[in-house]
Symmetry: C2
Subunit: 372 residues, 2 copies
DNA sequence: GAAGTTTGTTCACCTCATGAATCTTTCTCC
DNA sequence: GGAGAAAGATTCATGAGGTGAACAAACTTC
């Protein structure tokens, strides 16, 4: 989109913080009002911004709120798993306008890239997306556009973004899945407008993305938010790495399924079935989910004590278990929050199966706007 | 000092990253070489910078490294405890050039402020310091220059910085003690030049300061780095807040003293005596410090997993215990570091009793330079 | 309808970084 | 030892991008 730094700041402010008058944006960004006239004019002319009817009944010249026109531009986001691929098309406001789901046949790089291109082409829409974002689990070097290591695809040092650009003819960006989701939550999700927050995802694994002063925490060698093996209790269940009572062993859905199967002696029980049993008051299932809630509360409290976020957002494929284990969660959060502070605000972001891909699309959007 | 943003960036780069040529500074700050000529000229003329003999033996015009002249300006730093006050004078390079220690007679605000002014006046030096920094434990609102709450002084909402300015006639800044020390470690200590690191202090209490991308993490309501009550083991010793096996109970020097007195049945044993027993191989004392090392390793691993710092610096009055519990510390750090990462680099910053006050002086220095 | 208030615009101006050109001072190669 | 290469430092015209004052616009309040 090629925006000047000031124009970018104005556009992002309007995108994330909703319709705002020029005067209000000037105050927030500590700019003089005159510069807003200048910066918004071309954006209005090109249709990226539109004027809205303003509030009435206040003294002074009525303000004219400016709003980003979401339909003005589209983005594609693709999330890779070991067996399939989710693709979505979103507008400028991060809203999903189309979705596609394709199985992956094998993990050979060329085949997967072909599938990605296919999925992007299948997404209905008037114009081609302005950029494509791709996300997957595991360490990713965004700067080098390189998949460092993907355990479930068996990849090492794959320059995926370049290959996707070659296959689609579109600018492509690569990002770790949790970080991509964090970006979406930051701008358009439960943490919209918050400067400092943490996202905790619960599902096949545990993930954590941290945003400090509106900047995503990357960490040395691209590693941060590793909460999977946080020690909860030296006597708890054993995780795949042999740790007793670590966070994964209590919380990850495969661990919960495993524990429930063993405890209930039902070898084919699914996670959802176990959750249902707990909902209906089965004491064994209840206990398992209560302990999961305790672990989650402890994790959130640890993050909150250390970082001091404004809010902690919960998401992930298994986040709906929160309603079942809420009491235990709140108790553990309160108990482990530092005594001088109030427990951190917690928000549950309902999870749709397109969420991961939407995160990737938001990364594409941010890239297109030139946001680091 | 009233520097333009660019001049400030140049000066700080030279202050923190040692002597550098103009060309090198231009490259690091992504500025054109010409602007460096312009920006450094007044700083050289006023004696804040001096030219140094450069390296020989390389092709091209020899570079002229620029160095900050530390003696050009002085700062005062004051640390308050419940019973006494430590004051230091430092130069621009954060080096301590004088120190004073005064007992506090009572905790009445006016008396304490008078003592601070007295101590600052007592510090020998040619010119008065350019600014005074004051640090103390507990929540401090730096923006409002307000001590929110000081448990050991019995203060609430005391506008200390304003009072110190009134009493000394010097600009005064207020900061939490751990954060002040973090600032000193960041610019002139074991993390000098690192962009992302964590400081963990061990002493009467546990503290943690976090710097991300060269910016101090403040946290909502000014609260972050609360590691004191991190849960280590549900069966461990009990801390003053009634938590079993929390970090304080394992690591804070009063807890260690208490545990050692009870276990060895020596009611008047000091922390240093217990440490000495451990050094000499006493099995009871060894065990106590080994467990402290395990707790510390676990804390550092947790911070490293979450933040991904380049280095974790250990400091505080009791940091010398690290040498005694190093093996246990390293073992716990390795065990609790996420399996995909190498253990974080750990540096021990030797602690002098002037360190806290030096931190306060560095806060004054940063304030004087206009660094947030 | 006059006064007051706030928004939005225009315009002259000013700060500050850039980029090209140039000068300086060394090393390397022949 | 001289020519040329190399890198640092400087000068200067230029331009981007912001500010501040002045003013117009559009509404409320009295």
């Amino acid at each position: 989109m090629n925006l000047s730094p000031a124009a970018r700041a104005v556009f992002v402010e309007l995108l994330v913080h909703g319709p705002l008058s020029r005067a209000e944006v000037a105050r927030r960004l500590e700019l003089s009002p005159s510069v807003l006239t200048k910066l918004t004019r071309p954006l209005l002319a090109e249709g990226f911004l539109v004027e809205e009817p303003g509030p009435a009944g206040v003294p002074g010249r009525p303000s004219v709120p400016l709003r980003v026109e979401p339909a003005r531009r589209a983005y594609a986001g693709v999330k890779l798993t070991d067996s399939e691929l989710f693709a979505v098309r979103t507008d400028l406001g991060g809203a999903v306008t189309a979705e596609v789901r394709l199985p992956l046949e094998g993990h050979e790089v060329g085949r997967v890239v072909g599938r990605i291109a296919e999925a992007v082409a299948l997404l209905p829409g008037d114009e081609p997306p302005a950029a494509v974002g791709v996300s997957l689990a595991g360490p990713v070097s965004r700067a080098d556009a390189l998949v460092r290591h993907s355990p479930f695809l068996g990849w090492r040092e794959v320059p995926l973004a370049g290959l996707v650009t070659a296959a689609t003819g579109l600018p492509a960006v690569l990002e770790n899945d949790v970080r991509a989701l964090t970006a979406a939550v930051h701008w358009f999700g439960a943490a919209a407008g918050r400067g400092t927050f943490a996202l905790v995802t619960i599902g096949e694994g545990l993930g954590c993305g941290i945003v400090v002063d509106d900047r995503l925490l990357v960490g040395t060698a691209g590693v941060s938010g590793q909460i999977g093996h946080l020690a909860i209790d030296d006597r708890g269940p054993i995780c795949e790495r042999g740790h007793r009572g670590c966070a994964r062993a209590y919380l990850a859905s495969p661990s919960i399924r495993r524990t429930a199967r063993a405890a209930l002696d039902r070898p084919s029980l699914t996670f959802e079935q176990a959750l249902d049993l707990a909902r209906r008051g089965d004491p064994v299932a209840r206990r398992i989910f209560d302990e999961a809630g305790l672990a989650l509360g402890r994790i959130v409290a640890t993050i909150a004590n250390l970082i001091g976020p404004e809010v902690v957002v919960l998401s992930g494929e298994a986040v709906h278990m929160h309603e079942v284990c809420e009491a235990a969660f709140e108790a553990a959060l309160g108990e482990h929050t530092h005594w001088t502070s109030e427990p951190v605000e917690v928000r549950v972001q309902p999870f749709a199966f397109t969420e991961w891909a939407r995160g990737a699309a938001v990364v594409a959007l941010r890239h297109d706007l030139g946001v680091a």
